[in-house]
Amino acid sequence: MDVQHEQLAHYFLQGDDQGAIEFIKTMLEKYPRAYLYGDIITPAMYYVGELWERNEISVADEHLATAICDFVLSKLDAESGHVSRKQQKNFKAMLFGVEEEQHYIGLKMVADTFKEHGWRVRYLGPALPMEHSFTQIEKYRPDVIGISAALPYRLKTIKMVLEHFAELDWNPLIMIGGRLAKEYNLKEFESDQVMVVKDLGDLKRWFNEGREETINETS
């Protein structure tokens, strides 16, 4: 069964958006969306990275795959019957990629996961200038601020934004996610207000069990 993500990766690499969408729609008939995000789309993108490492594709191919994946996610998002306003919870999440960070596919899936759980979501996209993020946060006053980074060069930026967020008077929960959270030990950033979310599975656990459980499981 683990060839499914490779199949999807090939649709992405060929620039075949229709093929990718049809493939995903067929999968959606059998599996829940969360499974698709965590176990098909994410591995498909990792597989693309692996092909680059194997010297089989170039960075240009990777960009194409990302663009197609982005498109497919947007399309899925638009077509999913989101929780109607009436049933929406009053929780708000704001998500963005830190300054200079260009990786955003994971973040987009996180945005969708929040929406699926009835949250109101502001997804601000990748590489959000710091000042801009501060203004938006003051205006929207989210309960959760999710920041994402992939590369270790962003650690300094993360430190800076965290310092700023610590001063917000309504004490939002800060989530740090992205490849950086998965590959590096970010424990030093964790506090009452800040949690590290390694992947979509972590996020799912948080939705199901709340924060304490998540910490207990990992510590």
Partner: protein, 254 residues
């Protein structure tokens, strides 16, 4: 023909099989500084790729790699690396940054994407504002007006939708309970279309009122609404009257 000596104006270096750099061209120094080890300048994401491919077993090779951000830059630099092993110990290496055209296009694409995202974001904001407005409109679409001690009037406004009926249901049940009301007039004069779902909820609301011992009177139904009203099968306890005027005369005359 005789081959040229290496004097090409490009970042060029010779290293041993442990990636220790033996000599560098001027261009390489300008780009990376005085480095001793090839892996020092490589982005982490490229390390395993380099270790896997750059070995004397692969005599000649061109691969894409990413360098750590140079100087002021904050993003890794994608380069083509060309490697040729002179023997089992030493390799000549050329590192050429990707064509600037490509990075220009990538940047433009990024900008376009972020613009689309901004637009998307603005649309979302407008949509939320609109939803608020609709919700607000819904709340105002069925005001509870007391006419006399016992009689109240609820004029319905606009399109009867499920959303609207859900919104007004609770406040209306509340209002009728708190007062000494025993007659409620629903006036349809200002009603436009009636949705099937909306009608169903309205019917339930009226039935609830009947159960609470209130008399429900419906006025102002227009001919084009009659068909829908028939399908709904209102409770037989509900009284229909042609106009609000008639109803007021009957129930509100002192």
């Amino acid at each position: 023909m005789k081959r040229v000596e290496r004097s090409f104006p490009l970042p060029h270096l010779i290293m041993n099989k442990n990636f220790k750099i033996e000599s560098l061209s001027d261009e390489a120094v300008t780009m990376f500084g005085e480095v001793n080890h090839l892996l020092e300048i490589m982005d982490e994401g490229s390390l395993s790729k380099i270790k896997r491919w750059v070995t004397p077993e692969v005599h000649k090779l061109s691969i894409e790699i990413a360098l750590k951000p140079l100087k002021e830059d904050k993003n890794p630099v994608t380069c083509d690396m060309h490697v040729k092993w002179k023997n089992d110990l030493y390799a000549e290496v050329l590192i050429i940054p990707k064509d600037e055209q490509l990075s220009k296009i990538t940047k433009t694409m990024d900008q376009l994407r972020s613009r689309l995202n901004d637009t998307n974001f603005q649309l979302l904001e407008e949509k939320e504002k609109l939803e608020e407005a609709i919700q607000h409109g819904n709340r105002l679409s069925a005001p509870f007006i007391r006419l006399t001690e016992e009689t109240a009037l609820i004029p319905l406004f606009g399109h009867i939708t499920a959303d609207k009926m859900y919104t007004v249901e609770e406040p209306l049940l509340h209002a009728t309970q708190n007062e000494d009301t025993d007659k409620v007039l629903f006036d349809f004069t200002a009603v436009g279309q009636i949705d099937e779902d909306g009608a169903q909820i309205l019917k339930n609301l009226m039935t609830s009122l009947c159960y609470m011992g209130l008399q429900v009177i419906i006025t102002g139904i227009r001919p084009e609404q009659v068909k829908r009203i028939q399908i709904i099968h209102f409770s037989s306890e509900i009284i229909f009257m042609n106009s609000l005027h008639q109803a007021l005369k009957k129930y509100c005359s002192y």
